[in-house]
């Protein structure tokens, strides 16, 4: 007897049909021996602090793909509105797209109200969207800005919970950055002291966390002005090998001017007898990289 299938009306909320398809595809790919590309994460240190006149957001600039650095200088501080910026940690695509969607919706909202958007509005929009996707959008955000009610700073987690605090850190390096904040944060700091504090917190994340690195970006938001300092501090400059002239002697320069006469060297081999006179035991040194 044929089984009857009833067509169920689509329930509200997110449809997870594609997740089943993705799992199926992954199984098929693994059978052949390949693997699906993994999402690029910004293993990160991001932080924010409220100071006397506004908010300072800070971020490192390393984007990792597994154990490889995919981008040495990516920008993690995203524009939301002229007075609101947002740092993003977690899956790079998720933070990028989420902030762009909310930025677009907020601009339409601000045109509709005729007012400068408020940070609390951006916070509500972000948390409602992330909650709707139940944590599958891996975006952990630090949202900061200045509006008619003063400076505000929020941290938003992938499942949709938010915290409104005077200083926040997020990302894999957040523990290192939070240690710096807990030691040196004071309410109502001056701008220079606050910039130094944020710079030090991100530096702590960069040097003590493998997922964070490269430069330090800062974004200083005050009433009527935004300073997007990229980069604020090049904490990790790529070194130069000795100086260029000596490097050429060591490695040889294979570029010759047009018209150079070529010639070949005659090399004679001499046989050397090698005698072992004494032997020393080298002490064992194990190094883990």
């Amino acid at each position: 007897m044929a089984t009857l299938t009833v067509n169920r009306a689509a329930l509200g909320g997110f449809s997870f049909e594609n997740c089943k398809r993705n799992a199926l595809l992954e199984g098929e790919a693994n059978k052949v021996g390949c693997s699906l590309p993994s999402a690029r994460k910004t293993g990160t240190t991001i932080c924010g602090v409220v100071f006397k006149d506004g908010v300072i957001l800070g971020a490192d600039t390393r984007a990792t793909e597994g154990m490889v650095v995919a981008d040495k200088n990516c920008s993690k501080i995203h524009y939301i509105s002229p007075n609101i910026y947002c740092c993003g940690a977690g899956t790079a695509a998720d933070t990028e797209m989420t902030t762009q969607i909310i930025s677009s919706n907020l601009e339409l909202h601000s045109l509709s109200t005729g007012r400068l958007p408020r940070v609390a509005t951006a916070n509500r929009m972000l948390k409602q969207m992330l909650f709707r996707y139940q944590g599958y959008i891996g975006a952990a955000l630090v949202l900061g800005g200045v509006d008619c009610n003063g400076p505000h700073l929020y941290s938003i987690y992938p499942h949709g919970s938010t915290d409104k605090l005077p200083y926040v850190t997020m990302g894999s390096g957040s523990l290192a950055a939070m240690a710096v904040f807990e030691d040196r944060y004071k309410p109502d700091m001056e701008e220079e002291a606050a910039k130094q504090l944020v710079r030090d917190a991100i530096a702590a994340g960069i040097f003590n966390d493998l997922g964070s690195g490269s430069n330090i970006d800062l974004c200083v938001i005050t009433k009527g002005k935004v300073d997007y300092l990229r980069p604020h501090d090049e904490a990790n400059k790529k070194g130069v090998r000795v100086n260029e002239a000596e490097a050429l002697k060591l490695t040889g320069d294979y570029k010759y001017k047009r018209g150079t006469t070529g010639y070949s060297l005659l090399i004679t081999h001499r046989r050397h007898d090698v005698f072992i006179s004494s032997m020393e035991m080298m002490s064992e040194v194990t190094c883990v990289l």
Binding site: F131, Y136, A140, Y157
Partner: protein, 216 residues
């Protein structure tokens, strides 16, 4: 969900491993909570106020998943605003508790949050409602959260009927202090909210001002 590279607490759901308590007295209610929010082994917010206003004289205490609890509280806040405008007066505590219960019951498989609703209204005075998993029950007092298991004995032994406002506040503070000292997921500062006919008073008690007991 987020994959395993990096520390686990980065991909762990943020929970308010918590101690919350609400108790009614003749003329009002007292609510209390700790302030710790954890994601795995890391404390992500050490000063969160888990006593969330639903209306002027109705508060709810949050526990469980932070995102779920915050969302329920915000939804009920909105629904209660609309409801109170429709009836033209302040809503009853029972209405607020019913709204919370409706959401908790309808989405009981998807949500993991427990809210205790407490407040004062003109009709029945101070009331405390527990709404665990979609039931609604009025109780003289209610405790919730991970820290509550450590203090069931204390509250059962120490509760007396007919306590006045100061006794209730002291009871709440003592309970929170004991739970916070024994439960790893509870800590920080204690928030106390007292609601009665005349006012809604919010108070913070810092960690070193909490009462100490044996062994502290």
């Amino acid at each position: 969900m987020l994959d395993g590279t990096g520390p686990e607490w980065l991909s762990e759901e943020v929970k308010t491993g918590t101690t919350i308590i609400a108790i009614e007295y003749n003329g009002g209610v007292v609510l209390g909570s700790d302030s710790r929010v954890s994601a795995g082994a890391s404390v992500v917010n050490r000063v969160m106020n888990k006593l969330s206003p639903l209306h002027d004289k109705i508060y709810c205490a949050l526990s469980g998943s932070a995102a779920d609890a915050q969302t329920i509280a915000e939804m009920v806040n909105y629904q209660l605003d609309v409801h109170s405008m429709e009836i033209g007066e302040d809503p009853q505590v029972r209405s607020a508790a019913t709204l919370v219960k409706n959401i908790s019951y309808k989405y009981k498989e998807e949500l993991s949050a427990h809210l205790i609703v407490a407040g004062w209204d003109r009709r029945d005075g101070g009331q405390v409602f527990a709404t665990l998993k979609g039931l609604i029950t009025r109780q003289p007092f209610a405790v919730g959260g991970s820290g509550s298991s450590y203090v069931y004995g204390f509250v059962d032994a120490e509760y007396r009927r007919g306590m006045n406002k100061e006794d209730c506040q002291q009871f709440v503070v003592n309970t929170l202090s004991l739970a916070m000292s024994r439960d790893g997921s509870s800590g920080g500062v204690a928030y106390i909210v007292t609601i009665d006919e005349h006012s809604t008073e919010e108070k913070v008690i810092l960690g070193n001002d909490l009462p100490t007991f044996f062994d502290q």
